[in-house]
């Protein structure tokens, strides 16, 4: 009974470890189906390629592959491991046989020989762009592109290859324009999202830093982290304007060359705290990509420092 108890406890742990292997074969009969179909295809293939004059070595290889399929059929329900070996053996022989007639040919990379496939791929791309447009309520029209798709499929059905190719080129061109349009419109939304995310994270980071200070730990990184937090807050501030930026030499720079970093002036920080709205007219729409990049860079730096602080506090 104690053994059973131990088994009942260990069973789920062992099962979790081996669960991937257990699911490696949901249904062993699948192996037989694949092997049987491959066997049939190889027979057809040999007929097509060699007719009645199958070379003896190929005949021998096929016999071995076929024997493996027969063995698979027998072993399938009694010995799953043997069945797996038989499957791999059979498929290996069939793979070799299928390629042998063409071994003198170079293996070629595929190219766009099928306009229908090309259109199907573009159709998926269109659906992705449409979905993004709807998510952001952009109101982008895709009707012109959709008409071109209909036209292109009709041209393919009518074997008008040249006309179909032209339609496909037009579709690709228009999709490219739509993609750029979407990208422009989403970039500002992305900036707002970044701002919101960083603000939320800063709240949590400040709690960590307060805890670090309260723990009386002598951690020099705390000062750097606090400074970065303030910098990021100013960058995110709606009252931030370009006039408040001055170029200063980095205090930590070891290079003799100018190593410029943008820091807000004291005036800017005062303006923020006094909530002066007169000269400031910055809204979230005015954030430039460089601005957001600066936020991201400093936030990444801050995260690394906070990780170190958390390790040191432990």
């Amino acid at each position: 009974m104690k053994k059973l108890a131990l088994l009942a406890i260990l069973l789920p742990i062992i099962s979790v470890v081996s669960i991937d292997n257990a699911y490696a074969q949901d249904d062993p009969s699948i192996l037989l189906r694949i092997a049987t179909q491959a066997d049939e295809q190889i027979v057809n293939h040999l007929d097509d390629v060699y007719g009645d004059s199958i070379p003896a070595d190929i005949e021998s290889l096929y016999a071995q592959g076929h024997a493996a399929v027969m063995s698979l059929e027998i072993s399938l329900y009694d010995d799953v491991e043997q069945a797996r070996q038989d499957f791999l053996t059979a498929m290996s022989f069939f793979k070799y046989i299928s390629k042998t007639p063409f071994e003198h040919e170079e293996s070629a990379e595929t190219s766009d020989r099928d306009p229908a496939s090309h259109l199907n791929r573009l159709s998926k791309y269109l659906e992705n762009l449409r979905s993004i447009s709807e998510t952001h309520n952009m109101g982008i029209k895709f009707s012109e592109i959709e008409s071109l798709f209909v036209q292109a499929y009709q041209q393919i059905d009518s074997n008008e290859d040249a006309a179909a190719a032209q339609s496909i080129d037009q579709i690709e061109y228009l999709l490219d324009i739509k993609q750029k349009d979407i990208h422009e419109q989403t970039s500002q939304l992305a900036s707002d999202r970044t701002k919101m995310f960083v603000e939320e994270q800063l709240v949590m980071i400040e709690v960590i830093l307060d805890d670090a200070v309260a723990s009386d730990s002598e951690i020099p990184q705390i000062h750097d982290a606090n400074y970065l937090v303030e910098e990021i807050k100013v960058l995110l501030s709606e009252h931030y304007t370009t006039e408040d930026i001055v170029t200063v030499q980095s205090e930590d720079s070891h290079d003799t060359d100018a190593n410029s970093e943008y820091y807000p002036t004291e005036d800017a920080m005062v303006a923020q705290s006094q909530a002066s709205y007169d000269t400031v007219n910055t809204s979230s729409e005015d954030y430039s990509q460089d601005h957001i990049s600066a936020v991201k860079t400093k936030f990444a730096e801050l995260i690394e420092i906070v990780k170190i602080i958390k390790e040191l506090i432990r």
Binding site: A8, P12, A24
Partner: protein, 324 residues
């Protein structure tokens, strides 16, 4: 639980009072906490790590191009994520974060740098021509996959070569859908006039966490059952003994051959049921010989044969109850 369920032994080495608890199982933790702990172990160990795709679906088109769709868990605090692409020739690349927001991505060679900031899951889709090559009539799909994936082959294609065992296979509208393991996979196929044979009664695709929940539930049930069985030890053992006593069977069926009696004893010693393959291993007999013996016992109503995981399970019948 009765007073006899747990024994305490005291051994008193010099200067130390030492209490050894023998019956650890009941006292380790309250049973519900134990069950919860076991389930948590199952779930936590199954949690996917950052960077490996949670979902990876590929579609191969008749011209050999491949559409890739991947859902990847990433660190939400990371600014960018560098994604390894399955080729150098990439078309129609789209990356979206959770909630469907478009993410900026820059493709260089066979990698894409996606600005993921704030996203914990990204979905990436793109097309490539670099996964399929052709030699004569045979097309070859090759991929070293970072995770298990599904592969939808073109219509009317027939597989003629495969380097790994598939996890699953279905046929959807004349197209073969394979589920394959991570790692290096190579599949050869050619186009055939005859469509692939549909597989009747395909099971529904499993949820990722369902097996773990099932295992947790089974282990919980096993633990509860175990505790209840411990409370009725004498009676169940007595009942069990009468069900599987070979001597009782031999009295009822005196005409059994000696070698068949050995088989019955072996089955009885193993809890009343064994796989047919275990019988062959034990008695070192060829499959046909053992099968005849098993069928003989079945005809005599001494055993019954059931299917278990595509194998034959040989079980002793409860002859005494059936005779009555």
């Amino acid at each position: 639980m009765g007073p006899n369920m747990c024994r305490y032994e005291k051994t008193v080495p010099e200067g130390m009072l030492f209490v050894r608890i023998v019956c650890i199982f009941e006292l380790m933790v309250r049973i519900p906490l134990l069950i919860i702990g076991v389930i948590l172990v199952a779930i936590i160990s199954s949690a996917p790590s950052f960077g490996s795709p949670r979902v990876l679906d590929l579609i191969v088109y008749p011209d050999g191009s491949t559409h890739i769709s991947a859902e990847i868990g990433i660190d939400s605090l990371a600014v960018n994520y560098e994604l390894e692409l399955f080729g150098d020739n990439i078309d129609n690349f789209v990356a979206v974060g959770e909630n469907g927001f478009l993410l900026a991505g820059n493709i260089t060679g066979d990698s894409a740098l996606v600005e993921t900031f704030g996203s914990s899951v990204i979905t990436v889709e793109y097309d490539t021509h670099d996964l399929v090559s052709k030699q004569g009539r045979v097309w070859t799909f090759s991929l070293d996959a970072p995770a298990d994936f599904t592969l939808l082959l073109p219509e009317n294609s027939a597989i003629v070569g495969m380097t790994n065992l598939p996890i699953n296979m279905e046929v959807l509208d004349d197209q073969t859908l394979l589920t394959l393991s991570s790692g290096s996979n190579e599949i050869d196929y050619l186009f055939s006039a005859t469509a692939p044979t549909p597989i009747p009664g395909n099971p529904e695709p499993q949820q990722d966490y369902l097996p773990y929940v099932i295992i947790g539930a089974i282990s919980a049930a096993a633990i509860i059952l175990l505790v209840r069985i411990r409370q009725k030890p004498a009676k169940s053992a007595q009942v069990q003994k009468s069900q599987m006593d070979p001597e009782a069977i031999f009295k009822i069926k005196p005409d059994i051959r000696d070698d068949d009696k050995e088989i019955v004893k072996f089955i009885s010693d193993n809890g009343g049921e064994v796989l047919e393959s275990e019988l062959r291993k034990k008695f070192l007999q060829p499959r046909t010989t053992m099968w005849r013996a098993v069928k003989r016992l079945e005809r005599n109503s001494i055993i019954k044969i059931e299917k278990k995981d595509m194998q034959n399970l040989v079980k002793l019948r409860n002859i005494e109850e059936e005779e009555q």
